[in-house]
């Protein structure tokens, strides 16, 4: 019956190709706008590490000025009104202390710096590159994919071994894409051994560092955090301070109250979270005795999704755009109702003959609903194709190299929307035509 109805529907569409084209184009426009803008929003809103993010927590401590809270709201470091009134990052010295805890299953302190890379002179001139200092757990915590080798281990963390992880683009540029694990590369004044090469990796949201530009690309180089003091690598990311102290030497900088380190922990259970919160609070209470942390105790430990909300990752305009594009789809759908009504009712005599020959109301109804759904699907496909092109363009605009495309979830949503749009548009006309009185039409 379904195939039969589909055949009739197809034949009916083919009879008025122009009208069919107009109807398909209408749905396509609506699907195009709505999938494009809901996808744009979705790219920001979706879970950056599905199945894993709920175990990742970001640690902050209020070491700010005793006289005033850290200003949020109009955004220190891009934070929204939702944000806790504490600095978005912690100090180097506190990060080093927190790393001693054994409550988290994984943990990393990290910050971004800059370094001069000296490749083989035959390959490239020396150049300056962003570099992230982090702990070995960084890679498994943020599901960082490797194509060759792997991250370093805890021993390398402890001993500041001269090992480096490079990204795919750097490997292409300096080693022609070959397996470069075990090769050496000079960073600033010392030689590092390449221990891992990342697979191409471009998360849309740089979930491990949302403080600065959260749609920026991941860094090309990663080295153990413990290199910070020896190599004197200053922060090239956001850093906040409130005290005026002399920072002429690097040791003074590391010992200061300047917040530039980000701290993530992976906790398995709510019990672990509570225990870890106690651990951090106890640490701060102890520090208070030596005159630090003179503000009221406030050490928010929030999950990755909560941090995304605090940082306002989903710009409100994106939500507004998504809402309006869905309203536009609704308009397209209503328009189709009008067109389909005309199209179907013009067919009243033919339908009356079928009814008189024994077709049930439900058959007529189904036939017409199927016709609407065919149109909906055709429009959905066209709209989705258009949308993929548009998204590629918008992706380039928002985040230079980001892959900004429909994922399975969004394709599902687009199919769903086109089916709903087809159904909404068609259900009333289909009902009208199936309730036509055959007798009235057949007379005369």
């Amino acid at each position: 019956m379904l195939t039969y109805n589909t055949q009739i529907a197809l034949r009916s569409l083919r009879r008025h190709p122009l009208l069919a084209a107009v109807i398909v184009a209408g749905i396509a426009l609506g699907i195009w706008a709505s999938t494009t803008f809901t996808t744009v929003r979705h790219m920001f809103a979706r879970d950056p590490l599905p199945g894993h993010s709920q175990r990742l927590f970001y640690v902050r401590m209020d070491n700010w000025d005793p006289a005033r809270p850290y200003p949020t709201g109009n955004g220190g470091g891009g934070l929204t009104q939702l944000a806790a009134p504490v600095p978005p990052q912690i100090t180097y010295r506190d990060a080093v202390e927190l790393m001693r805890s054994n409550i988290p299953v994984r943990q990393t302190a990290d910050y971004v710096s800059s370094i001069v890379v000296f490749p083989d002179r035959k390959v490239s001139r020396p150049y300056t590159s962003p570099l992230r200092l982090c702990f070995s757990d960084f890679f498994p915590m943020f599901d960082v994919p490797f194509q060759y080798g792997r991250g370093w281990d805890k021993r390398a963390d402890a001993n500041a071994e001269q090992v480096v992880v490079i990204d795919d683009a750097t490997n292409q540029k300096l080693f022609g894409g070959a397996n470069s694990v075990g090769k050496h590369i000079r960073l600033a004044d010392r030689d590092f051994t390449i221990i891992g090469v990342l697979a191409p990796w471009r998360p849309f949201i740089r979930m491990y560092d949302m403080v600065g530009n959260f749609v920026a690309e991941p860094e090309p180089f990663y080295i153990p955090f413990s290199h910070a003091p020896k190599m004197q690598l200053r922060s090239f990311g956001n850093s906040d301070g409130w005290q005026s102290v002399n920072l002429a030497t690097f040791e003074q900088f590391l010992a200061s109250e300047i917040d530039f380190v980000q701290f993530w922990v992976e906790l398995r259970t709510p019990g672990d979270l509570a225990a870890y919160q106690r651990y951090v609070d106890d640490y701060v209470r102890q520090q208070k005795k030596s005159g630090r942390f003179q503000r009221p105790l406030l050490n928010p430990i929030r999950s990755m999704r909560q941090m995304m909300a605090e940082y306002g990752i989903v710009r409100p305009q994106l939500t507004a755009m998504a809402v309006m594009s869905i309203l536009f789809l609704a308009i397209c759908s209503m328009n189709l109702t009008g067109l389909l009504l005309g199209k179907f009712l013009a067919r009243a005599p033919e339908v009356s003959v079928r009814r008189a020959l024994g077709a049930r109301r439900i058959d007529i109804f189904m036939q017409h609903v199927i016709e609407c759904e065919l149109v909906g699907i055709a429009g959905g496909v066209v709209g989705m194709l258009l949308s993929i092109g548009t998204l590629r363009f918008i992706g380039k605009l928002i985040a230079d190299s980001a892959r900004f495309s429909l994922d399975l979830e969004m394709i599902g949503a687009a199919v769903f929307l086109s089916l709903v749009a087809g159904l909404l548009a068609g259900i009333y006309p289909a009902w009208r035509i199936c309730t036509v009185q055959p007798a009235v039409q057949l007379k005369g």
Binding site: T128, A320, V323, S325, L327, I331, N335, L397
Partner: protein, 398 residues
């Protein structure tokens, strides 16, 4: 008038009525809120920095030669870079500074007034060599500009010389002059020698207009420069910069960005919102318009015999046109009434859930006028077709 018969006829065909009313209502709600959003985005984008943005370049030297580890070497190199940059034809002024307009941030710190009430004020802070005001194209409004003698490159120095923005002067000194006053950031005195105006650089904190420029070179992590060119000369000057700087010292790379590029990157998301909302407005008006044409044509076809009958009974062509326009006007107004409610409802949702701004009633009025016009335009063609129906039709049986 025929209002009575028109409404009765409308009520006999509720589907068409409801469809058009809903479309018009949603269209009004979307159009007014979209315009509201566009205006809000534009407001942010139109805020002027007060600088000669269109003719500014940011140049950064990224050093790798070991000599750059020495402060004296870096300063000598920055000075020779300044000379090299000034020597390029088309360059108007150059300054060695870590200030980069429109990057969405910068550096800041707290200062308080010596002899004041001791309360600290957060302000943007940058270092620059003399030439800052000429390069940005701002004016010294009181006191004097920075001089070569003010420049202090000693990293252990606790004193300094600054010029500050007019808005910072107002913040710190109310109505008094800042010139000759001293500030502190916890260490030694910082002398204010001059005040410049205007200054606006959007920052993470609400300190966009507050700025203090310290006399000094910026050489650590590579010297940075702002270059101002003769109007329209960016394209000619930019390619020469890297060559000239590498020629004076090749132990480095040189990065270059024009301020218009930096600015457009800063406003990219706003531009996307504006483009997207503009497109939605255009499409929704066109689609609704076509929808009205379609539904009205359908109504005309359906009523061909009735129209013929009216014509046969003496109705003139203008009367038929007037009938359809009137009918459309009633439908449109019903839609607009519902639409105004929807527009404010949608706006309420946007304000409470997405920190949107309140809807300006003038956009609602403009939307109403737009949809009236659209209604008339969309109805005119089908109405003309209706008027062309021959009275003879009435005599035929179909």
């Amino acid at each position: 008038m025929e209002i009575g018969p028109i409404t009765r006829a409308l009520l006999r065909n509720k589907t068409r009525f409801i469809l058009i009313v809903l479309q018009i209502a949603v269209t009004l709600a979307v159009v007014t809120n979209a315009v509201n959003m566009i205006v809000e985005e534009r407001k942010q984008m139109n805020k002027a920095s007060g600088f000669d943005d269109d003719n500014l370049l940011f140049v950064r030297s990224r050093n790798f030669a070991p000599e750059f580890d020495q402060l004296e070497y870096r300063i000598a190199s920055a000075e020779s870079d300044l000379r090299a940059l000034r020597g390029i034809p088309g360059v108007k002024a150059v300054v060695n500074t870590n200030f980069l307009p429109w990057q969405g941030g910068g550096s800041s710190g707290e200062v308080n007034v010596i002899g004041g009430d001791g309360s600290p004020y957060r302000t943007q802070q940058y270092a620059a060599t003399p030439g800052f005001v000429q390069t940005l194209g701002v004016k010294i409004v009181s006191g004097r500009d920075l001089r070569d003698g003010d420049v202090d490159d000693d990293p252990n120095s606790t004193t300094g010389t600054v010029i500050i923005s007019r808005d910072l002067e107002k913040l710190l000194f109310k109505d008094k002059s800042a010139v000759g006053q001293q500030l502190t950031n916890g260490t030694g005195p910082i002398s204010v020698v001059g005040v410049f105006d205007p200054f606006y650089n959007p920052y993470g904190w609400p300190i966009h207009e507050y700025c203090a420029i310290f006399a000094g070179h910026v050489s650590r992590n590579g010297a940075r420069f702002l270059v101002r060119v003769e109007p329209g000369m960016l394209k000619q000057v930019a390619p020469m910069i890297e060559k000239r700087l590498i020629a004076t010292n090749e132990g480095r790379n040189v990065d270059l960005q024009t301020i218009p590029e930096v600015k457009s990157r800063y406003f990219r998301q706003n531009q996307i919102v504006i483009a997207a909302m503009g497109m939605v407005i255009f499409l929704i008006v066109v689609v609704t318009g076509l929808g009205i044409v379609g539904l009205t044509s359908f109504a005309v076809t359906e009523r061909t015999r009735q129209i013929g009958t009216r014509r046969a009974l003496g109705a003139t062509k203008p009367a038929i046109i007037r009938y359809f326009l009137m009918e459309n006007w009633i439908i449109t107004n019903s839609g607009l009434l519902l639409g105004i409610a929807l527009a404010y409802g949608l706006n309420y949702l946007l304000v409470t859930n997405t920190s949107g701004v309140k809807l300006d009633w003038r956009y609602v009025v403009a939307g109403v006028v737009l949809l009236w016009t659209q209604g008339v335009v969309a109805t005119l063609a089908p109405a003309m077709r209706a008027a062309a129906v021959s009275p003879v039709i009435a005599t035929r049986t179909v």
